[in-house]
């Protein structure tokens, strides 16, 4: 006991410090903080360096060849004499696979995130989240390998039937629903109950026959499609969409969670069903956050290298017709990865610098979209916390 008191006393005597010691301590603290700041700002320095060094190697290309050829010509013959560096087809390829993957991933991702945040009970959610995390964790080269070795041959040999079945499975329920809703809406103005019923019946039959005819015609056309090569824009778009999904799901789920209970409860209290609550109340409230999620997901698809390099076919021409997803394409990322070896890393050759020009283009696009999505998230947070 006594010893404790004694040590306490000696320690308390340490606290009585001179002004000078206090000052030194203050300075030490400031210096420590400065070092921490320096290390924390390392990230900013790195970002600056990335811009600087990629731009430094990109500028010689534009100085040598100008801007017009790069952005407007589709002739990509870097190895010819004289070489041609028209990258329009490559930029178009990047946009095409990104759009294709967004068309699949955005609706699916948003619906899945709604399901996670509003529909599934917590106990099930616990098992779904790891699935999404695993989808995000699988290395891109493994996806690329799958796309090249498993999916491409499948698509090439059985592409028509696969497309037809996918069309039926996805479109048939939608059309069925549309028929029921349409006949309901079209007969609301009929006053007499018995007439209403028979009119509805007749409409149901007519519309479903029409729908089946349409489904059949489109399905037949899809089945007849000949897929010359399984390594094409469609293959890549599908695989990329599954790589972009985890980003979209997790970010938009955060946005949906941020919409408080009050809005949901208010909507339910007014008699809305769950679907109506989600579509008419929650989605508009979370729309900006979901937009940010979509931008981030799209960037993931645009910046992906290995899948497109392995499975897009790498043909540097614009597909004919321009919306033909069964044609091979080539993207910016795949060109950078694939051509660097042949450019021989000779600093000074336009062939080397054009790849940096492409990198700079990707970098600027990703930077701008990141800023936009960040702004959106910040604004949404402000609005929601302000309410």
């Amino acid at each position: 006991m006594n010893g404790d008191v004694a040590s306490n006393q000696s320690r308390s005597s340490e606290f009585i410090v001179s002004a000078q010691k206090h000052k030194i301590q203050k300075i030490k603290q400031k210096a420590g903080e400065a070092i921490l700041l320096l290390i924390a700002s390392f990230v900013a320095i790195v970002v600056f360096f990335i811009f600087w060094f990629v731009a430094r190697d990109a500028v010689p290309f534009f100085r040598l060849r100008g801007f017009a050829e790069f952005f407007t010509s589709a002739d990509w013959y870097p190895a010819d004499d004289p070489p041609k560096f028209g990258s329009l087809a490559i930029i178009y390829g990047s946009l095409m696979v990104t759009l294709g993957s967004a068309l699949i991933a955005v609706p699916m991702g948003v619906i899945a995130s709604i399901c996670l945040s509003d529909i599934l009970p917590f106990s099930v959610r616990q098992y779904v989240k790891p699935v999404i995390e695993m989808l995000a964790a699988i290395p891109s080269v493994a996806y690329g390998f799958f796309a090249l070795v498993v999916f491409a041959p499948l698509l090439q040999n059985n592409g028509g039937p696969i497309l037809m079945w996918t069309w039926w499975v996805i479109a048939a329920p939608f059309f069925l629903l549309a028929v029921i809703v349409a006949s309901e809406l079209l007969t609301t103005s009929i006053a007499k109950e018995s007439m209403k019923k028979s009119a509805k019946m007749a409409l149901n039959i007519v519309l479903s026959l029409l729908a089946i005819l349409f489904l059949y015609v489109v399905g037949n056309h899809l089945q007849g499609l000949v897929i010359m090569s399984g390594t094409n824009a469609l293959n890549v778009s599908i695989i990329l969409s599954f790589m972009a999904l985890p980003t979209i799901v997790s970010v938009s789920e955060d946005a949906l969670q941020a919409v408080g209970r009050e809005l949901r409860e208010g909507s339910y209290a007014l008699g809305a069903t769950r679907a109506e609550t989600i579509v008419k109340t929650i989605l508009p409230a979370a729309s900006s956050g979901i937009l940010a999620a979509v931008i981030l997901g799209i960037m993931r698809a645009l910046g992906e290298t290995m899948v497109v390099w392995m499975a897009s076919g790498n043909s540097s021409s614009i597909p004919v017709p321009f919306y033909n997803y069964l044609d091979s394409v080539r993207t910016l990322t795949a060109t950078i990865a694939g051509d660097m070896g042949e450019a021989d890393q000779v600093t000074g050759s336009a062939r080397f610098h054009v790849l940096f020009a492409m990198g700079l283009l990707l970098l600027i696009v990703s930077f701008v979209s990141n800023l936009i999505s960040e702004r959106i998230v910040v604004r949404q947070r402000k609005i929601l916390s302000g309410q």
Partner: protein
């Protein structure tokens, strides 16, 4: 709309939600299933006598006496094939020129098929490449090659509207009336006696170097390269990331500087991976000259920059999740801010920080694009720990691409590619699994 339709729409909406989640789960299964099943085939397969001969002479493993015994046994059955060939050779000599030329090219094809199946025929000179010194080491491959011996593949161009379809033509029919006809049914019936397939667990796949451009041997150099690169990246990124996270959570005041730094962090997280590769090439190799050309060091630095934002974010979250009371208690006892951080906050946040670290480790191991220009080579032996500063290394991710897309006989070594993908995916998913478990334990602990 009446209530019934509204309810129907509500239910279909729910079904849509379930549907999209089920599709995601199915996609995961569809991707992982072939990788898992065929990947296991890389090291668990029916190995033939050729496999055991190869192991003995190239890696000095196996029981020499047993193998010699097996070899004499198989040679007994193979001898009959060789005898048939010799008999046909004589028959061919006695034919006139026209008949000879009729059989010649087809006969050469048969011989080539037999060589790929059984190894060099008697009288052949010793081939230079290892892949021609042995027959098929795997029974599944041997059966494939047997089909190639029995049937010749031809293409049907009759319908110009569709892609040409392949069809099989029996080779035996081409040799009707000669002594060689008997060879085909004989090989078909006795192939298992000529090859002696046995279920093999080839653990050397993970511990041995490859032979002859991955035709034989294992993937150890790639595994080791991946480990070096991932751990090297962590060595740089982990301390930096944790310190930056401490600054952001404990010291940073709201202001222009902080918001700019945060912006920089999310920008870095969004940079396409191939651009990191370009930057690594332009900065670490061409400007700083950290090494002559590609090296593990340059690759690790590039990967470190790539995973830095993830580590910072995870560490920030982990530090913020530490209850405020911990900090207040420590400060109340008179400890300094720095002391509180080091002795109270960091230990409490450590599992969360480690979770982020483990996930980043997996990401660094799996990424390909940043190491293409900075660290990866297609073929090479395992490098020593002393060489990491100067020499490049093969790595799983890069070699999967390389073997699948650029190898001269990519279709012949699918099993190796699958094995590599399985190894990589397993490592990454195990790391992620441990992160999930770690996180579940933390949330339990924090809930009390």
């Amino acid at each position: 709309m009446n209530l019934g339709t509204r309810k129907l729409l509500d239910h279909s909406f729910t079904a849509l939600g379930f549907g999209s989640i089920i599709i995601m789960g199915l996609a995961l299964l569809v991707v992982l299933f072939p990788i898992a099943t065929k990947g296991v085939g890389a090291f668990v397969f029916k190995g033939t006598i050729e496999h055991r001969k190869l192991l003995l002479s190239e890696f000095h493993r196996g029981d020499p006496k047993e193998i010699v015994k097996e070899e004499t046994e198989t040679n007994r059955y193979r001898q009959k094939v060789f005898d048939m060939l010799a008999a046909f050779d004589q028959e061919l000599d006695q034919m006139d020129y026209e008949q000879q030329s009729k059989y010649r090219s087809s006969y050469d094809q048969v011989k080539t098929s037999l060589r790929t199946l059984l190894g060099p025929l008697p009288g052949d000179s010793e081939p230079a490449l290892t892949r021609f010194q042995y027959g098929q080491t795997r029974w599944d491959k041997a059966e494939e090659k047997l089909h190639g011996l029995l049937y010749e593949q031809k293409w049907d161009y009759s319908n110009p509207d569709v892609i040409a379809k392949p069809y099989d033509v029996s080779r035996a029919a081409g040799f009707a009336g000669t002594s060689l006809v008997k060879l085909f049914p004989y090989v078909e019936e006795n192939l298992d006696k000529m090859m002696m397939p046995e279920w093999t667990f080839y653990w050397g796949f993970f511990t041995e170097s490859s032979l002859d451009a991955h035709f034989f041997g294992g993937i150890w150099p790639e595994i080791q390269g991946t480990i070096f690169l991932a751990i090297g990246a962590m060595l740089f990124a982990f301390p930096l990331g944790v310190i930056a996270a401490i600054y952001f959570t404990e010291y940073a005041r709201d202001g222009f500087l902080t918001s700019m730094l945060r912006s920089a962090n999310s920008t870095l997280a969004g940079v396409p991976s191939i651009v990191f590769g370009l930057f690594g090439l332009a900065f670490f190799i061409n400007t700083l000259h950290v090494s002559e050309s590609k090296s593990v060091l340059a690759g690790s630095l590039t990967l470190a920059i790539m995973i830095l934002p993830t580590i910072i974010r995870a560490a920030e979250e982990a530090i913020l999740a530490v209850p405020k009371t911990y900090k207040e208690a420590s400060l109340g006892l008179g400890s300094t801010k720095w002391n509180t951080i080091v002795t109270v906050i960091l230990p409490a946040a450590l599992p969360g920080i480690l979770t982020g670290g483990v996930i980043s480790l997996g990401r660094a191991a799996g990424e390909t694009a940043p190491i293409i220009f900075t660290a990866a080579v297609s073929v090479g032996a395992a490098i020593g720990l002393g060489d990491v500063l100067t020499s490049p290394t093969p790595a799983l991710s890069w070699n999967i691409y390389n073997l699948a897309s650029e190898h001269e006989a990519a279709a012949e070594i699918r099993h190796v590619q699958y094995g590599m993908v399985l190894a990589l995916v397993t490592v990454v998913l195990l790391l992620n699994l441990s992160a999930v478990i770690l996180r579940a334990r933390i949330s339990k602990k924090l809930k009390g």
